[in-house]
């Protein structure tokens, strides 16, 4: 089944989300759709899946014009979408999730689960998915959950499958697994649309690539023949530096020291196991690891959001083991939180309010009981200027900013106050390439200024390109340590350590 989009235009008020888009999706081919957040990829795919009607343009399936009145039309036309955030019921089994909405029934309303099971088995063996039909979703790792989503789409007999940022939640080995599934789907004649902002994935899996920027197509071609630099330029609109410029820094005294940190959850599960490390002035220490191996808990323990841990912690010479979040902040700890929407900002607060949220009590911004909003605004405006937060006014709500600018706002607040130690957790998650570059350069600058930086990221590339030293976290402990100042690539060993296989690392030491 082939799909052709001709001159598709979609406007939201005065914003043009898609401007005269022409696109061909062909059977047996993987089309990569590359673009930054807000480039119009999602709008385009929502048009394909029937959620939005285009203002202009035509949608042709095998040469015949169609009009989708809703998602139902799109599904019955054979278009399936695997969303970035899975649409699964956690407490249902795989089979139950797969048939949700198109339940096979025996007589009356009696659910035919055995038929569902058979179908799940058939589909999963056909494409090498190996998913147990009776497993409960919440017990399954994310990679398998994604396979369930794929089975769901195949169960509905989709011939065109759209993947929206499919690798964002996967571990490196799961990504490999996923790519082989995509190849199998392609070989069976399905048309695949692969939405991403990661260049190397496009180069690896896509047969054709279309690049979107500001709602327009800015480039097309064969990704094998286009260089990474060229693709990035199409995507961002200017040249992008891939390597972080880093000079050798002057290593100083330890600024953060963790001794025998242990943490148990309420269910007495040991989530942090005897963590010991220190970060010295002038170095970036990266913590690599697959999500859910204790990184979140470690960040919360270090920044004072969690109290019930044992062990000791020092900021410089100062014992901060029992200090709360504010005391640590005052002592010189900056925290770029993992989830900026949850911890890092208040969406309904103005940029000013967001920027003073954890320092409003300082003498420069307030007296005994009142906040000096005039000073707060000018401080916020100054920081926005310095940290390239693009906004017409600091009075606008935080949620009016793009993801990149929101993150730069958080970075401005945290780095703007000259901290001694920076805890940067997933500092570039969901952020455009331009902002990633900028945030990286700021972190490196902070290190060059003689601060310690702890970088926690699930993007291995980010860890490798920024860190001076790399620690790998697995199942609540630090399982390996790598020096990253020499140019030797250690991707494989790090990858192995992330998967918990420690022997080979010990062999190396």
């Amino acid at each position: 089944m082939d799909i052709e989009l001709k001159g598709i235009t979609k406007r939201f008020g005065s914003v043009i989300a898609n401007d005269q888009i022409n696109l061909q999706i062909k059977a047996g081919e993987v089309l990569g759709l590359l673009g930054e957040n807000g480039a119009g990829k999602s709008t385009l795919m929502n048009i394909l899946s029937g959620l939005y009607a285009p203002d202009e343009g035509k949608l042709l399936i095998d040469g015949i014009e169609v009009n989708f009145r809703g998602p139902g039309d799109s599904i019955s036309a054979g278009i399936g979408m695997v969303h970035q955030h899975f649409m699964l019921v956690p407490i249902f089994s795989v089979a139950e999730n797969v048939i949700l909405g198109v339940e096979p029934v025996k007589t009356a309303d009696y659910l035919d689960l055995s038929k569902a099971r058979t179908l799940v088995n058939k589909i999963s063996s056909e494409y090498g998915l190996s998913v147990p039909p009776d497993a409960i979703i919440e017990d399954l790792p994310v990679g398998i959950q994604q396979k369930v989503e794929i089975i769901k789409v195949l169960f509905r007999e989709a011939n065109v499958i759209i993947f929206d940022e499919p690798t964002a939640v996967l571990t490196p080995s799961e990504v490999e697994d996923f790519f082989s599934i995509v190849r199998a789907l392609k070989a069976s004649g399905k048309a695949i649309v692969f939405i991403t902002h990661k260049l190397h994935e496009i180069k690896e899996i896509a047969d054709r690539v279309t690049v979107l920027r500001h709602g327009r197509i800015t480039g097309e071609g064969n990704p094998k023949r286009l260089t990474k630099e060229k693709l990035a330029e199409m995507m961002v609109g200017r040249q992008v530096a891939f390597t972080v410029n880093k000079i050798k820094s002057k290593i100083g005294q330890p600024v953060l020291k963790l001794k025998n940190i242990e943490l148990h959850t309420k269910d007495n599960e040991r989530v942090l196991k005897n963590i010991n490390f220190s970060i010295k002035a002038g170095e970036i220490v990266g913590i690599a690891g697959i999500q859910g191996n204790g990184q979140t808990e470690l960040i919360e323990v270090i920044t004072g959001l969690r109290k019930n841990y044992t062990g000791e912690m020092f900021l410089g010479e100062l014992d901060i083991t029992r200090a709360n979040a504010r005391q640590r902040h005052v002592a010189g700890m900056a925290h770029i939180p993992e989830d900026r929407h949850k911890f890092g900002m208040v969406e309904n607060f103005s940029i000013t309010e967001n920027i003073i949220i954890n320092n409003y009590y300082e003498k420069r911004l307030s007296d005994f009981i009142t906040i000096n909003w005039i000073k707060a605004r000018s401080a916020a405006a100054l920081l926005c200027e310095e940290f390239d937060v693009r906004t017409p006014s600091v009075d606008l709500n935080g949620k009016s900013l793009s993801g990149g600018n929101q993150q730069k706002m958080v970075v401005a607040r945290e780095l703007g106050r000259k901290p001694k130690i920076v805890i940067a957790a997933q500092p570039t998650r969901g952020v455009d390439v331009g902002s990633i570059e900028y945030i990286h350069s700021r972190l490196v600058q902070s290190r060059d200024d003689g601060n310690g930086v702890l970088l926690i990221s699930s993007e291995l590339d980010e860890i490798i390109s920024l860190s001076d030293r790399i620690l790998v976290m697995y199942d609540g402990s630090i399982v390996a340590e790598f020096d990253n100042t020499d140019a030797k690539p250690k991707r494989n060993q790090i990858g192995l350590a992330m998967a918990g296989s420690t022997e080979e690392i010990y062999n190396e030491h």
């Binding site: 939201f12 008020g13 920044t303 004072g304 959001l305 709360n324 979040a325 504010r326 005391q327 902040h329 925290h335 939180p337 949850k342 911890f343 890092g344 900002m345 208040v346 969406e347 309904n348 607060f349 103005s350 309010e353 949220i357 954890n358 409003y360 009590y361 307030s366 009981i369 009142t370 906040i371 909003w373 009075d395 606008l396 709500n397 949620k399």
Partner: protein
């Protein structure tokens, strides 16, 4: 155009609204009220009231609320405790707390106020009145503080806690009113001793007509509106309260103490409700009797919702509800329409405010086209 947008900006600023919210805050209540009145008319028609009487009853409603000095005096007299308690509930909303307990806090505040007032009846007026009000609000604050502490320490939900505290307060009142040192001498029914003459809030308009009940509590109320506006918009504490209400994770991250915010805002809300009780006792009722709170604490929830937790919005919402109450009495007298209809209209206003989507759906042209994500 420019002046208009400036005016909008200033008004929005005054109401502490974010961009675009201006329309919601002004237009939505107006349409909600109009729709509620319309449905009220339909209900009257359904119960067999003819058009002429409906017209007359609405005229009486308007006249009874704002049509004469007496009407205005009654409207504001009714609005004072509603606004005071509503400010407290609105503050709770800002902190992310749903305080259903204003009724109980009014009862405890009013009860302690009346006891203080008749016990220290030989103090000079200014001292007695001042301390009566202080005692009332402290009592309310302490009573709400129970819920605040339990919420902060154990995590028990404040809605349940405050509902239970309301029920307890009714029984405390029943019990107290039967105690010899509280019960009025020579009475067998549960009623307290009276507030002495020098303990009463001075009337404001009795030089025009001794029956006009409006008292100096209106200044206290206006003062409270200004204080709350300042607290929420300008103060450090208000900033912590708002952060906690908008995103408690961010408040934790920012090093604000969520427990103190919960206890503090609960106590402050209780203080305002207790003050409402004390003002009502020493300005209007002059004694405590069973049910003297008359549901003010519950109506105040509606006032806080209608006013969208903005002190100035609550001021207008309270005046509106005061007007509905005063006008409703007139409606009953003039047109013979049951005062229950007013309760229905009040309830409908709240329904439409609480569910703005209904209003947005029936009158889409009245709202900005901006896409809303929430």
């Amino acid at each position: 155009m420019n002046t208009k947008s400036n005016f909008r900006k200033t008004t929005a600023d005054l109401l502490m609204l974010r961009q675009g919210a201006y329309r919601d805050a002004i237009v939505l209540p107006i349409i909600a009220i109009a729709t509620a009145l319309l449905i009220g008319a339909l209900i009257m028609t359904a119960t067999g009231v003819d058009i002429y009487t409906i017209g007359r009853s609405f005229a009486a409603l308007g006249h009874g609320a704002f049509g004469s000095i007496n009407a205005i005096s009654e409207t504001f007299t009714a609005a004072i405790p509603l606004i005071l308690a509503g400010l407290g509930i609105g503050l709770g909303f800002r902190a992310g707390l749903f305080n259903i307990g204003a009724e109980g806090q009014i009862i405890i505040g009013g009860l302690l106020a009346v006891i203080f007032s008749f016990t220290f009846s030989d103090l000079p007026t200014i001292v007695l009145v001042t301390f009566t009000l202080i005692v009332g609000s402290l009592a309310g604050a302490a009573y709400a503080g129970i819920a605040g502490v339990l919420r902060a320490v154990t995590g028990a939900h404040e809605v349940i806690l405050t509902i239970m505290l309301n029920l307890i307060s009714y029984r405390i009142l029943d019990y107290a009113l039967r105690q010899p040192f509280i019960q009025k001498d020579g009475r067998s029914d549960p009623i307290s001793k009276s507030v002495p003459g020098n303990g009463q809030l001075p009337k404001l308009l009795d030089w025009i007509d001794p029956n006009l009940r409006l008292h100096v509590g209106i200044f206290i109320m206006v003062g409270a509106v200004i204080l709350l506006w300042w607290l929420i918009k300008k103060s450090k504490m208000g900033f912590a309260i708002r952060t906690n209400g908008e995103n408690s994770h961010a408040a934790l991250y920012a090093g604000m103490n969520p427990k103190m915010v919960i206890i503090g805002s609960m106590a402050l809300a209780g203080g305002l409700a207790g003050l409402a009780g004390a003002v009502q006792i020493s300005g209007v009722l002059e004694r405590a009797s069973p049910g003297f709170s008359a549901g003010i604490g519950f109506d105040a929830i509606a006032v806080a919702l209608l006013g969208r937790s903005h002190p100035i919005g609550i001021l207008f919402a309270g005046i509106l509800f005061g007007g509905l109450e005063a006008g409703g009495r007139q409606m009953q007298i003039d047109a013979g329409v049951s005062i229950d209809l007013i309760s229905i209209i009040q309830a409908l206003v709240v329904v439409f405010i609480a569910a703005p989507l209904i209003i947005r759906t029936i009158t889409p042209w009245a709202f900005s086209k901006n896409k809303r994500t929430s």
